[in-house]
Amino acid sequence: MGIDKSIKNVEVKVLETIKEIQDQIISDFELFDEWDEKYAYIIEMGKKLAPMPEHFKVNENKIKGCQSTVWLASEVQDGRLVYYADSDAVIVKGLVSLLIKVFSNHKANEIIANEPYFIDKIGMQQHLSMTRSNGLAAMVKQMKMYAIAFQS
């Protein structure tokens, strides 16, 4: 019995899966009734996004749209991809920070295999729009490209 107890108390640090993180975001967003609560949260996420190290802010990491500019970079830590991003517009930055929350710290094969279905579920599909060259779809594609590049 004593052994059982001690096992229960051991904190096993399990990295959440991409799916678990997405489902968490979806349930967080279910708390919001009004559009402004949703966007206030995204804006907050944008403002709180960890600053991107300056050396990543180079042209190769720039996704230039006709409205705003997004920088997106990645590096590998312990075999996992870590993403960094920045933008001059805060809503885009908040949305990218959600993508980072979902994909960062995962293995390349996981990133490649998972689609960010949460975007649709939290009602942000309008920002996926392919017509915006730096829409979320372009950023997801870029994140996956980094993963593919790392894998090969």
Binding site: Y39, I43, V90
Partner: protein, 421 residues
């Protein structure tokens, strides 16, 4: 600008001599919810909405008249041709062209300008010649000139402006020389709303023998256009900017110029006779109208012109001036908001930036409140750079907009700023 604004009760439906509520009933698209809120459409400089008279005209055309024009001898072909040519007459009168043949149908302003650049421009420009283009130009009235300059060895020079968004006429005077062959300017700036003194600028250009191409995309919905009074050599316009359908526009040109220009595209309609090894070119305006045109939308353009004339441009302009004055006053009260484009002569376009807030964020959030504005560089990237900004938020007003909608815009902006700051 109208100074009576303080005397106007903001909630009245009669604004000036215009019964706006009655007009709004003619625009079915306005009567809808966007994101659960009544649509407030303030993106009229991008495109205006269409009255049901225009929509009905398109439907009618396809239901009762559809046929290919000019070549047929059956009844429908004659009916379609008559309606198509009726629009040419109507548009010709609308801009006071000396004759309908000088009005060439195109897809719009962009195609009209390209037509001039690649026919007239290509045939006259030589190495070292100059094309003067204003600092205010839409990419449509800059890129074709850069392209033809590259092809011919001509040079594009930019007519500068002041910080208010007004062209510097004295500088322009200094730039004019025998080397200048073409001057390309807009009548009204889409980004800033500036009304340029085109009549004066045309006279100055003619002094050195240059030909002037006026981009009228933004002017036709607001101003009375008289191409003869302006003495414009070419005048380009787009139907969709003045309550007509998309996909149709026109190029007005002086007869002598049009007659001497080579054709633009080859195909049916633009020819008189064709042989296996040669062809002869048709008369004006058909010379420049190769292929089956956009007949239905051209026919419906007449309904738009009729609609505007029935309401009267003077009344529309007065109403829009009241809206602009009201919006300028209300928005100026917003902390950190700076209006970009403060020319003395302006149409109802209000571009602005707000300290520390990105225009894209404003656009996304206003949309959630059902308010449609445009954000970005408005296809005038060099102009934005000249203003030292990446883009603006632009609200542009049309005959169906109300003072109440502008109050809503101010309310929306205040709410959005609270969220963003």
């Amino acid at each position: 600008m109208n100074t009576l604004i303080n005397d106007i009760e903001p909630y009245t439906t009669m604004q000036g001599d215009l019964d706006v509520q009655k007009i709004r009933l003619d625009f079915p698209v306005l009567n809808q919810l966007v994101n659960g809120k009544p649509l407030i459409y303030l993106d009229n400089a991008a495109t205006t909405q269409k009255p049901k008279q225009v929509i009905d005209s398109i439907v009618n055309y396809y239901q009762f008249a559809n046929a290919n024009i000019h070549r047929g001898i059956h009844t429908l072909a004659e009916r379609a041709t008559a309606e198509y040519e009726a629009t040419r007459k109507s548009l010709s009168t609308f801009i006071n062209s000396p004759s309908p043949e000088q009005v060439i149908f195109t897809r719009g302003t962009t195609e009209s300008i390209n037509l001039v650049a690649f026919t007239y421009g290509k045939s006259v420009l030589k190495l070292g010649d100059e094309i003067l283009v204003s600092a205010l130009e839409h990419h449509s009235n800059l890129v074709p000139w850069l392209m033809i300059a590259k092809e011919t060895g001509a040079v594009v020079k930019i007519i500068p402006m002041n910080d208010e968004g007004e062209l510097l006429i004295e500088e322009y005077q200094k730039m004019l020389s025998e080397k200048v062959k073409i001057v390309a300017i807009n009548h009204v700036s889409n980004s800033l709303g500036t009304i340029n003194p085109v009549k004066q600028m045309i006279a100055m250009a003619h002094g050195v023998g240059a030909v002037v191409v006026v981009d009228g995309a933004q002017s036709v919905s607001h101003l009375d256009i008289d191409v003869q009074d302006l003495d414009a050599d070419f005048y380009a316009l787009s139907s969709h900017k003045f309550y007509g359908p998309t996909g149709i526009g026109a190029l007005y040109g002086k007869r002598a110029l049009l007659e001497n220009m080579p054709p633009y595209q080859g195909g049916g309609e633009m020819i008189k006779d064709v042989f296996y090894n040669s062809f002869t070119v048709n008369e004006l305006p058909y010379k420049f109208e190769a292929g089956t045109p956009n007949i239905a939308d051209t026919v419906a353009l007449k309904a738009a012109i009729d609609y505007i004339q029935r309401i009267s441009k003077v009344k529309i302009r007065d109403h829009e001036n009241v809206l602009l004055a009201h919006a300028t006053k209300l928005l100026s009260e917003i902390d950190g908001l700076k209006i970009i484009g403060q020319a003395k002569e302006k149409v109802s376009v209000l571009s602005f930036v707000i300290d520390g807030v990105h225009h894209q964020d404003i656009g996304i959030l206003l949309d959630q409140e059902g308010i449609a504005v445009r954000t970005g560089h408005h296809c005038t990237q060099p102009l934005m750079e000249r203003c030292g900004i990446a883009g603006t938020t632009r609200a542009s007003f049309a005959m169906y907009n109300t003072l109440e909608e502008i109050n809503q815009l101010q309310w929306g902006l205040t709410k959005v700023l609270k969220m963003l700051r």
